[in-house]
């Protein structure tokens, strides 16, 4: 077997996995504000996000692979968003829905986080206040392209090991004390394995 065909097989396998993942996104709607109305419209029969395979909202982050941050994130709520993100299994993607989730929008004040990307990585930003459903679908298609091209944030972090579907958080950047940097200090498992 030549050298080129040896790398060809895993690449094709990766492409097939990416293709499957981009058409079966299970969404977790983190809906905090008025953008949720537009999300409902996008979910509904008129715009029908089901055409893109992302019609199945999971209300447990453990069953979701696309976190949609819909609406304003306050500084008080940011740790909650981070915890939700950390609870999602890899591979996972994040969409910021509307300007508040993207940049804080017009809430330039003491209480609103200037964008969900201050707390978690974001793959796709959908502008608008609120965005029209067409924009959301456009953003979803952009994300699908990203997944197919293996450019999602978790895919880039984990590298080409995602082909089998199981990924190992230990491959992510590690803090000096040996724990994953995606967890808060108080959320990290103690070394003796005790569950808090």
């Amino acid at each position: 077997m030549s050298e080129s065909s040896a790398s060809y097989v895993p690449t094709v396998l990766q492409d097939a996995v990416n293709w499957a993942q981009k058409y079966s996104l299970f969404t977790y709607p983190f809906a905090t504000a008025c953008c949720a109305m537009e999300f409902m419209s996008t979910m509904g029969s008129r715009y029908d996000i089901a055409r893109f395979g992302a019609e199945f909202p999971r209300f447990s982050p453990r069953q979701a692979d696309l976190l949609i941050v819909i609406g304003t994130i306050t500084e008080r709520q940011a740790p909650v968003l981070r915890r939700i993100y950390d609870q999602m299994p890899d591979p996972k993607w994040v969409m910021a829905f509307g300007v508040c989730a993207s940049t804080g929008g017009f809430y330039q004040n003491y209480t609103v986080t200037p964008g969900a990307d201050q707390v978690i990585p974001v793959d796709v930003y959908v502008p608008g206040c609120p965005p029209r459903p067409e924009q959301v679908l456009d953003g979803l298609m952009a994300l699908q392209n990203r997944i197919q091209e293996h450019r999602g944030h978790c895919q880039v972090e984990i590298g080409n090991t995602a082909a089998i579907g199981y990924t190992d958080r230990r491959r992510l950047p590690v803090m000096q004390d040996g724990t994953s940097m995606t967890l808060l200090p108080e959320e990290r498992m103690p070394q003796d394995g005790r569950v808090r």
């Binding site: 500084e75 008080r76 940011a78 740790p79 981070r82 330039q108 004040n109 003491y110 209480t111 986080t113 200037p114 964008g115 990307d117 201050q118 707390v119 978690i120 990585p121 940097m181 808060l184």
Partner: protein, 182 residues
């Protein structure tokens, strides 16, 4: 109707009043802090007034004036269907920035006073549970005061690689910390 309320107050508690007035049809009575609970109790319990509802309790910050804060009580009588606005003027020194609580008169005062404490830093002496209600416990300062920096964010959490907040915000927050300390 409400003009009768002002007459009533002038007749019953002339010593408590700083001034009275009206704005677009709403009668206002400014009272001394030491007479506040007395006046509120009278308005709630007297057969002529029966102000059994505290519809709102707010604070106004007149930065640069003395006294700086105005605590505003919006009273309403459900049986008599009349309204009255009671105001108390207080300064911003630590020893001055307080009013007695109204929780003993209306239960609705509890959360309103916590909100006023949280956002303006007005202490309500005698309140059973004066904690922040909107901001988090770690928050420093009182954000609706006019001298709080407009973008003074105090994040609880940030990604290690998060986009930097702009320098101006950081500087404003540091300034306000300094002012509070000094």
């Amino acid at each position: 109707m409400a003009a009768r309320l002002l007459e009533f107050l002038t007749r019953e508690r002339p010593a408590a009043l700083v001034e009275t007035g009206a704005h677009v049809g709403d009668e206002i009575a400014v009272v001394h802090r030491e007479h506040l609970v007395e006046v509120l109790t009278l308005l709630r319990d007297h057969a002529e007034t029966k102000m059994n509802m505290l519809s709102d309790l707010t604070v106004v910050d007149y930065l640069g004036q003395q006294p700086r804060f105005e605590v505003v009580y919006q009273l309403y009588s459900i049986p008599r269907k009349h309204r009255l606005r009671i105001k108390v003027r207080i300064g911003d020194d630590d020893g001055e920035c307080w009013v007695p609580t109204a929780t003993g008169l209306w239960h609705s005062a509890n959360w309103s006073e916590r909100e006023a404490w949280d956002l303006y830093g007005v202490r309500f002496e005698g309140h059973p549970d004066l904690r922040r209600i909107l901001m988090y416990e770690e928050f420093v300062g009182h954000p609706l005061r006019k001298d709080y920096p407009q973008n003074g964010r105090q994040p609880l959490i940030r990604r290690p690689d998060a986009p930097a907040t702009d320098d101006q915000t950081t500087r404003l927050l540091a300034d306000s910390h300094d002012r509070r300390v000094s």
